[in-house]
């Protein structure tokens, strides 16, 4: 029997697991996918928001700015790329300037440090590639960009290193409350736990309905994105937001922490799990991004994709109003962390602390600290970022760092082997890509994917055609041997 079962190993579930590992608790982290952070965490804007958007009476307003401030330490402890690049909300006319002033005031209430309203000249001096029609902006120096998937993988790894049990490929199909505990049925066996934390992303409402009367409903709102080649990565330095509307924050233009440019997302209600891009939506984000940044070179796109948010549907609400749902549910011992959309990524260090200290701790009176808790993980070697002496030394120590597999991003075999053998190791081509960026460059894996498959097969001791791209069993890359290869085997 586990003390606590967390359903969903996205950024919310994984981070709460790590936070719980500060205590002597028997915690299991469950996910239906074959890797952590494989849904919403995988495809989002990757922005650490300053925290001036949401009103202070909402949980979103309460946790955003606090979570933001916590990023330096967590990213240092967990070796995650993070850059405080700043953000600008740009205005094109006096109405939008009024919105900028409102955001400024709200930011002050939320305790966002360093906010400043910039005049036209100041904006253009800071960002020379913005549209000339931009006449002012709200500058937030604390906004940043992060690698959300690396954060999630490393948070999960740290949780596992501190004693959390991670069970992937465990898709929850039913939950029963039996006396003082929960029995969770999955496709890979039954799990029993005294408490359950529901962090199942867009499926959190479905999960809750397995055990309680529905009191919230989640809507998948899809957003399309484009990623540009690093060659044009210096087009903007800050995250550029348009003035927000009722629909949301609008189409942003942002640097990524790895040096690309990202634009998106639109917002369209879809069925859960729909991550298809559509031509009209891609065109919509293109046109809107061009309004703020007219020189975006669309011949330098290297990838387009879509992700979705888990937005609480306002009209079925009884307890919240378009806000995060972070509370013990009417079912005692069952905690919901739901409706966890933007600024969820930014807020998570603060939210995880809140969940553990304010919700869990009072439920477990005899809770003891885990004296062996170590907040740090072993840093990864990032060959490309080493200086000459360090490169010489690391290849001497391990020659596999002398073999470049991904040419575009200069990722070595040593780095790929490392991410396969860590405690939350990569098992698929996509999970290698998430962890060390092999295949994220301008050739998008054209050269390196055969090599990555080969390394995965060798290290996991399986045939090449058993290596998956992503989902277990359904995303095979190779369908079998060629005729000549088969006859070689026979003879």
């Amino acid at each position: 029997m586990y003390d606590i079962a967390i359903i969903g190993a996205g950024i919310a579930g994984s981070y709460i697991a790590r936070e719980l590992s500060r205590y002597k608790l028997n915690v299991v982290l469950l996910d239906g996918e074959n890797d952590v952070g494989n849904q919403i965490t995988m495809a989002n804007s990757a922005i650490v928001h300053a925290g001036f958007d949401a009103p202070s009476y909402k949980l979103k307003g309460k946790f955003n700015a606090v979570g933001n401030i916590m990023y330096e330490k967590v990213c240092a402890d967990l070796d995650v790329p993070f850059k405080r690049c700043g953000s600008l909300v740009v205005a094109h006319d006096e109405y939008e300037l009024a919105t900028v002033h409102e955001l400024y005031k709200n930011g002050l209430i939320n305790g966002v440090p360093g906010l400043k309203i910039l005049f036209k000249e100041e904006v253009h001096a800071m960002e020379p590639n913005l549209n000339e029609t931009v006449c002012g902006a709200l500058y937030a120096p604390t906004a940043g960009v992060v690698s959300p998937f690396e954060l999630c993988v490393n948070v999960a790894e740290n949780a596992v290193d501190n004693g959390v049990t991670l069970k992937l490929n465990h898709l929850v199909s039913d939950i029963k409350k039996i006396d003082d505990h929960f029995s969770i049925t999955t496709n890979a066996g039954t799990i029993e736990a005294k408490f359950v934390i529901n962090a199942a992303g867009v499926y959190a409402d479905d999960i809750y309905e397995m055990v309680g009367e529905p009191y919230f409903q989640l809507l998948a709102r899809k957003g399309n994105y484009f990623i540009f080649d690093k060659e044009v990565g210096n087009l903007v330095n800050n995250v550029i937001f348009p003035c927000p509307s009722k629909k949301g924050k609008g189409i942003l233009v942002a640097p990524t922490v790895h040096g690309n440019i990202l634009i998106g997302p639109d917002a369209e209600p879809v069925e859960k799990g729909d991550t298809s891009t559509t031509a009209d939506r891609l065109d919509y984000i293109k046109q809107n991004a061009l309004k703020n940044c007219p020189s975006l070179p669309f011949n330098k796109i290297i990838r387009s994709y879509a992700g979705f948010r888990n937005t609480p549907v306002a009209d079925t609400f009884t307890t919240t109003d378009g806000d995060f749902i972070i509370e013990e549910s009417p079912v005692k011992g069952f905690i919901n962390v739901a409706g966890y959309e933007s600024p969820g990524l930014t807020s998570i260090p603060a939210v995880a602390h809140y969940v553990v200290e304010e919700i869990i701790k009072p439920m477990i009176p005899d809770i003891k600290e885990n004296m062996d808790y170590n907040p740090k993980i072993r840093p990864r070697i990032r060959f490309d970022e080493l200086n000459e002496e360090e490169k010489i030394a690391i290849i001497k120590e391990n020659p596999k760092y002398g073999k470049v597999i991904c040419r575009c991003e200069t990722i070595t075999e040593g780095e790929i082997m490392d991410v396969i053998h860590r405690s939350v190791g990569a098992r698929t081509v996509k999970s290698v890509k998430k962890r060390c960026r092999a295949g994220t460059g301008r050739c998008q894996g054209g050269f390196c994917s055969p090599r990555v498959i080969e390394i995965l097969a060798r290290e996991l001791n399986c045939p090449l055609d058993e290596v998956m791209y992503d989902q277990q069993d359904s995303t095979y890359i190779l369908s079998g041997k060629t005729k000549s290869a088969k006859s070689e085997v026979k003879s």
Partner: protein, 422 residues
Amino acid sequence: MIYDVVILGGGPAGLAAAVEAKKESAENVLILERDRELGGILNQCIHNGFGLHTFNEELTGPEYAEHYINQVIELGIPYFLDTMVLDMVDQGDLKVIHVINEKEGYMAIQTKAVILTMGCRERPSGAIGIPGYRPSGVFTAGTVQRFVNMEGYMPGKEVVILGSGDIGLIMARRMTLEGAHVQAVCELMPYSNGLVRNIVQCLDDYDIPLKLSHTITFIHGKDRLEGVTVAKVDDHLKVIPGTEEFIPCDTLLLSVGLIPENEITRNAGVEMDSRTNGSVVGELRQTSMPGVFACGNVVHVHDLVDFVSEEAVLAGKGAAKYLKGQLDTNITFTTLNGDGISYVVPQKVSLKNVEEKVTFYMRVRQVFKDKVVNAYIGETLIATKKEKKLLPAEMVNFKIAKNILAQYPAGEIRFVIEEAKK
């Protein structure tokens, strides 16, 4: 040790350039190759049709490469395999090439001259942004060529190919021979981007339909590819509503263009040409950086390897001349792509370096029938090349003798497509 010439890439361009430089008396030549053997992309091109121009026989890719690899070995030219060049730093008379491999570790190799022969890579699916899901089963044609021909694995059974580039056509035949079913090759343009001989030998002979003016409008399948929606496009390449058709398939191959791989070139600060995506080069393939030469697909994408070898010989000669201090740096002519022409290589000519003639390589923007390519200096027509049919897929090579060029003062040579005079 200071090398005379270091060659960045052991594919067809690098091999031929190394051989020529050595024959022209460059002493210490070194080839750096990132793959596990010499020969470059030819190693995965096991079909025949290589070397008709150079050897007067039809060779397979590996056989063509072997001709040059044997010469490299006979001439005792050293090479490093599995070796990646991180960057090239220009220090004037010396260039420093920073490389790594498993055996020797990190090396800073000093050399007087460099020949860039990194080749090209395929345009990935991301670059064309096809709407739909991002499942497993979408590959570039060259990646699949490697899987099938070098690793011995098939990617799937029901295949659609987007783009009619040569690798796509070759792979249509290869997949068919390996027992897969190729449903169609879709090409956005109203003409093929592959060689005519490949259309005939790889599609027509196997009854594989070539759908011109067609594109893919949606990729279906969340996990593994389940099919594609194909639609017809109009003259402006816009999808014609109502022409959409669902084709079930588990594999989509993309053959939608090749891009010269010039990261090292750009980072080193060599002048680039946005029309070719390669460096600006002269008649002996000298770049804007003294002592640095470039040839083959890294300069512009060729359709036949024979022309890569031809160009590599020029670069090898150029590097040798440079080492002897005999390379003239005064530019006599620049070239310009006029009406109907998308690019011309070389972009610059120093006439003193030319032996007998200059071969200008160029591509046309669209299909032309019964037209001529004319070369002008100012208003004067200096040379004409007649072609029954000009195709964007087939590189035009236009030779102009030195004695003709010598009649004109320095200036710009402009190539245009015009009506043939009757």
